[in-house]
C-alpha cells in the first residue's frame, strides 16, 4: 500500500449516536475522486486508517448492510438514454465485497439478509420476511453473501502498486467472475426449485440479467477503485 506518504490528520469531532457525514472532508474527497488528479496525493482528505479495529469493522459492516438495503429500495436508475434500467442491489453487494474484503463483506450481506428476514422491509420492492426465501428469487438472495465474499477474495489479490486503469479492469474481472460463479448458478437453481422451470428455461430467464450485470460490474470497478484510492488502508490486508 502507499501508506508511507500518507499523513494522519486529526479525527474531526464526532457526535456519537448520530454521526453526520464528515462535511469537512467529504467535498475534498468527492472532488478528488471525480476529477482524478493524476499525480500527487489528494492531500488533507486522506486519513491513515488502521485496517481493522472492532469499532470500525462494526461500523463498516452495518453501513454497508444499510447500503445494500438502500440500493434495493431505490427505484431503478436508468443509464444512457434510458435503455438499460438497472437496480443497484447487485451493484451494492459486489461493491461491498470489493471494498470491505471477504470477511466483513460476508458479514455485511448476512446482516442485511438477517434483518430483512426478521421483517424490516428492505428487500427489493419493499418486501420483507422469510417469504422472499420461498419465492423464485431465493437463489439470488442466497448467492449474495457468497458473491460478495468471492469478489472480496479476488479484488484483495490485486496488488496495491497497479495503475488506476489496471485496477479498474482487474476489479471488473473479479466482480464479474464472482457474479458468474455464484449469483447466476444459484439464481438458476432457485428458479428451477421454486418456479419449477427446466434447466434450459431457467438459464434463458437468468440470461436476461447478464447485460445489466456487465454494466453493474463496470460501475463497481470504477467506484471501488475510487474508494480504494481515497481510503487506501480500507482494503489493506489485515495482519
Amino acid at each position: 500500500m502507499t501508506n508511507s506518504t500518507v499523513r494522519t490528520t486529526p479525527t474531526p469531532p464526532l457526535d456519537g449516536a448520530d454521526p453526520a457525514p464528515t462535511t469537512s472532508s467529504s467535498p475534498v474527497l468527492v472532488k478528488g475522486a471525480v476529477q482524478q488528479p493524476e499525480t500527487g496525493e489528494p492531500h488533507a482528505a486522506r486519513r491513515e486508517l488502521t485496517a481493522s479495529s472492532p469499532g470500525r469493522d462494526i461500523a463498516l459492516v452495518s453501513t454497508f448492510a444499510a447500503l445494500v438495503a438502500v440500493c434495493a429500495l431505490l427505484p431503478a436508475i436508468t443509464v444512457g438514454n434510458g435503455l438499460v434500467p438497472i437496480t443497484l442491489q447487485t451493484f451494492a453487494v459486489l461493491l461491498t465485497g470489493a471494498v470491505l474484503g471477504w470477511r466483513r463483506a460476508g458479514l455485511a450481506i448476512l446482516l442485511y439478509l438477517a434483518v430483512g428476514t426478521a421483517g424490516v422491509p428492505i428487500f427489493s420492492n419493499g418486501r420483507s420476511g422469510p417469504g422472499v426465501f420461498a419465492g423464485p428469487s431465493t437463489g439470488y438472495l442466497v448467492a449474495f453473501p457468497l458473491a460478495a465474499m468471492l469478489a472480496g477474495v479476488l479484488v484483495s489479490r490485486i496488488r496495491a502498486s497497479v495503475t488506476r486503469v489496471r485496477r479498474t479492469g482487474l476489479t471488473f474481472l473479479g466482480c464479474f467472475a464472482a457474479s458468474l460463479v455464484t449469483i447466476h448458478p444459484l439464481g438458476i437453481l432457485g428458479l428451477m426449485w421454486r418456479a419449477d422451470l427446466s434447466f434450459t428455461e431457467a438459464v434463458v430467464t437468468d440470461a436476461v440479467f447478464l447485460p445489466g450485470d456487465i454494466v453493474k460490474c463496470l460501475a463497481v470497478a470504477v467506484v471501488a477503485t475510487a474508494v480504494v484510492r481515497a481510503f487506501p488502508a480500507l482494503s489493506a490486508p489485515k495482519r
Binding site: 471525480v34 469499532g55 469493522d57 452495518s62 461493491l95 434483518v115 422469510p130 420461498a134 419449477d196 467506484v223
Partner: protein, 213 residues
Amino acid sequence: MSERRRRPSRPPWSGPLGLYSPHATWLHALSPGDKLGAVAAASIALTFVHDPRLAVGALTVSLLVLASARVPARATVRALAPIMIAAVGIGLYQWWSQGWEMAVVTSGTLATLVVLATVVTATTRTDRMLDALVRLAGPLRRIGLDPEVLALAVALMLRTIPALIELVGEVRDAARARGLDRDPRALLVPFALRTVARAQATGDALTARGILD
C-alpha cells in the same frame, strides 16, 4: 437542460414500519420463534410433498390464518399483489408446459408460503423479531460472535438506512448542480465515498466511547 422538472422536496422516509398491524389475536400472542418455525415446517413439507390437493388445502388454510390475523386489507393486498401475479404467471406457464397438476402445486406452494410469511410479518413487532434474531444468534458466541455486537450492528444499520437515503438526495442535488445528473459516475462515486467516510466516523465514535472494549 432545457426542460427541468421542479420536484417537490422529498418527503422524509417513513422508516421501517413494514406491515405490522397491532391487534390482539392468537397469532400476535405466539412467539416470533414459534411462528418462524411453523413457516419453516410448512415450507419443508410443501417442498417435498408434491400433491395438488395438499397445495390447495395449504393455500386455503393459509388464507384462513391470514383472515384471522385481522390484517389491514389494503396494505396486505399491496404487499401480496406482485408475488401473487408472479405465482399466477408461473402457474399458467407450468400448465402449458407440464400440465395442471404441476401448475397447481407450484403456484399453490408459492402463494401459501408467501401468505404465511406475510402473516408472520403482520403479526410480529419488528423489535420483537429482532430480539428473537439476537437470541437465536446466542450459539454463535462459540465462533466468536457476541449477540450484543449483533444487536449493536442491527441498530446501527437501521439508523444508517434513512441517513443514506438522505445522502442519495444530497449527492443527486450536487450532481444536478454541476449538470451531471445523468452521469452515473458523478452519482455513484461521491455516494460511495461519503458512505465510507460516514462509516469511519461512526467507527471512530464507537472506538472513542470504548463501546466494543
